[in-house]
């Protein structure tokens, strides 16, 4: 009897459609989010994450309605990230049916927001998203820095120290994305995943770079991640969730089959 490692398909949503960027830039359409979420639910996904990459507020209403629609039909945990800047944003998403919210840029500019949100809503629903890039040269000990604005702006903040701080401030979970790897299909940055997972007591979700099923397994066995997140390998039908689970279970990873 043991806790299962989780597989989390991620839906990047823009103006009510699922899209997937390559290195956070190119966009490709992957369908209606409600249909996609239902499909993953039926396939046995352990959770579903939505990243609202919409810029404007009126389009954000579309996201709220989408979450409402999904939450009345999909009975597994739902996380919504993107544009979460104030407690009202969290309240709105939770009322729409989200179970957790992802806080990213707002945490970087105002870490106290994480503390306030955790106190008000409970740390179980606060996922702090960390977007980082490796800044150390080859051969040097690994160093990673937090980047904002879709990976364009460096902050000078060390990713591991930041993860420790976010745990202290009340994060319930860390969603760790390697911006170097995102969209590349070269696999997770296992070094930073392992370093952060080993440094904090809360669960870490590995994200960015999955191109095949071995990458998912490596995230757990080598990266010590508690959950693995992927988008395009599932959206475009290369692999199904049951295939991914069976593959990981065959490598001795505890899965919910």
């Amino acid at each position: 009897m043991a806790l299962a490692k989780r597989i989390i398909p991620c839906l990047d949503v823009d103006k009510g459609r699922v899209v997937k960027g390559v290195n956070f830039i190119d966009i490709r359409d992957a369908g209606n989010p409600v249909e996609v979420a239902k499909r993953y639910n039926e396939q046995g996904a352990d959770e579903i994450t939505f990243l609202d990459i919409t810029a404007s507020n009126e389009d954000r209403d579309t996201t709220v309605h989408m979450v409402e629609e999904i939450a009345s039909e999909v009975f597994i945990p739902l996380t919504v990230g993107g544009g979460i800047r104030r407690c009202e944003d969290i309240r709105r998403m939770l009322n729409a049916g989200a179970d957790k919210v992802g806080i990213n840029t707002a945490a970087v500019f105002n870490p106290d927001f994480v503390r306030e949100a955790a106190e008000r809503f409970g740390r179980q629903c606060i996922v702090v998203a960390i977007d980082c890039k490796r800044v150390s040269a080859d051969g040097e000990p690994g160093r990673w820095e937090i980047f904002t604005h879709g990976g364009r702006k460096p902050t000078g903040i060390d990713a591991i120290e930041w993860a420790i701080k976010m745990n202290d401030y009340g994060a319930g979970e860390i969603l760790l994305t390697s911006m170097d790897r995102d969209g590349t299909k070269n696999g997770f940055d296992l070094d930073v995943t392992r370093a952060i997972s080993n440094a904090i007591p809360i669960p870490v979700i590995a994200s960015g770079g999955v191109g095949n099923l071995q990458h998912l397994a490596d995230g757990v066995t080598e990266g010590h991640a508690d959950a693995v997140l992927a988008a395009s390998i599932f959206h475009f039908g290369e692999y199904s969730i049951p295939e991914a689970k069976a593959f990981m279970a065959a490598q001795g990873i505890e899965m919910r089959l």
Binding site: L3, F75, P77, E119, Q124, G172
Partner: protein
């Protein structure tokens, strides 16, 4: 039409619980409410809850939900506690420096510990977050149609240690043996989130919605 009342005391996400109950309810309406009269008239009552126990207990007492819970349990109608709504039914919790709870069940809510270690001495993450297996320690109507050791979705940093093991109907190992489901007469309470546990969770909620509150 019969009613399932989900007690609203301002804590946490009641949307999921009510939506999941609506999904399985058969000729029953689901009402999210803090009105004692509505709750009194309902045939089934659910006490959900997420967040910190101090805030939950403070709201429960401020809104008089403690008395509503007591009264509805005493009336013999089926009553379901979920997550912090379960922990609130114990005597007390170690969270927030020690908080007295409603004391419906004998036993305590304890911290998982730091570090929390598994059988091999490896560190486990806290909160206990994700899908874990539940051993059905005693038979109960809510387990109907659910296989033993089925996985349910958990999120919690504190776990229940019940004093009376005869009341334990579900157990999970996570560094410790956690009593994740308790039952006595018309009351059943679970640590995991049936409303987020896919088919097995919906089956459990359906079993509850159809239950008459009797175990014999």
């Amino acid at each position: 039409m019969k009613t399932i009342a989900v007690i609203d005391y301002g804590m946490g996400n009641l949307h999921s619980v009510s939506k999941a109950l609506e999904h399985v309810a058969n000729n029953q309406r689901v009402v999210v409410t803090s009105d004692p009269d509505v709750i009194r008239q309902a045939e089934h009552v659910v006490l959900p809850g997420v967040g910190a126990i101090r805030d939950c207990m403070a709201e429960i007492r401020r809104l008089g939900v403690d008395k509503v819970v007591q009264e509805n349990i005493a009336s013999g109608k089926p009553f379901l506690g979920i997550c912090v709504g379960y922990q609130a039914l114990m005597q007390d919790s170690e969270e927030n420096g020690g908080i007295p709870c409603l004391g419906h069940f004998d036993g305590h809510v304890r911290f998982f510990g730091d570090p929390l270690l598994d059988e091999k001495g490896e560190k486990l993450k806290v909160p206990h977050m994700g899908w874990n297996q539940v051993k059905q320690a005693h038979p109960h109507p809510i387990w109907q149609g659910i296989e033993d050791e089925t996985r349910f979705y958990f999120v919690h940093s504190y776990y229940v240690e019940a004093a009376n093991t005869d009341q334990v109907i579900g157990e999970t190992r996570y560094g410790k043996t956690c009593h994740v489901a308790l039952a006595q007469d018309n009351v059943v309470a679970v640590q995991f989130h049936p409303e987020k546990s896919h088919d097995a969770g919906l089956q459990l909620l359906k079993n509850f919605a159809e239950w008459d509150g009797k175990t014999a």
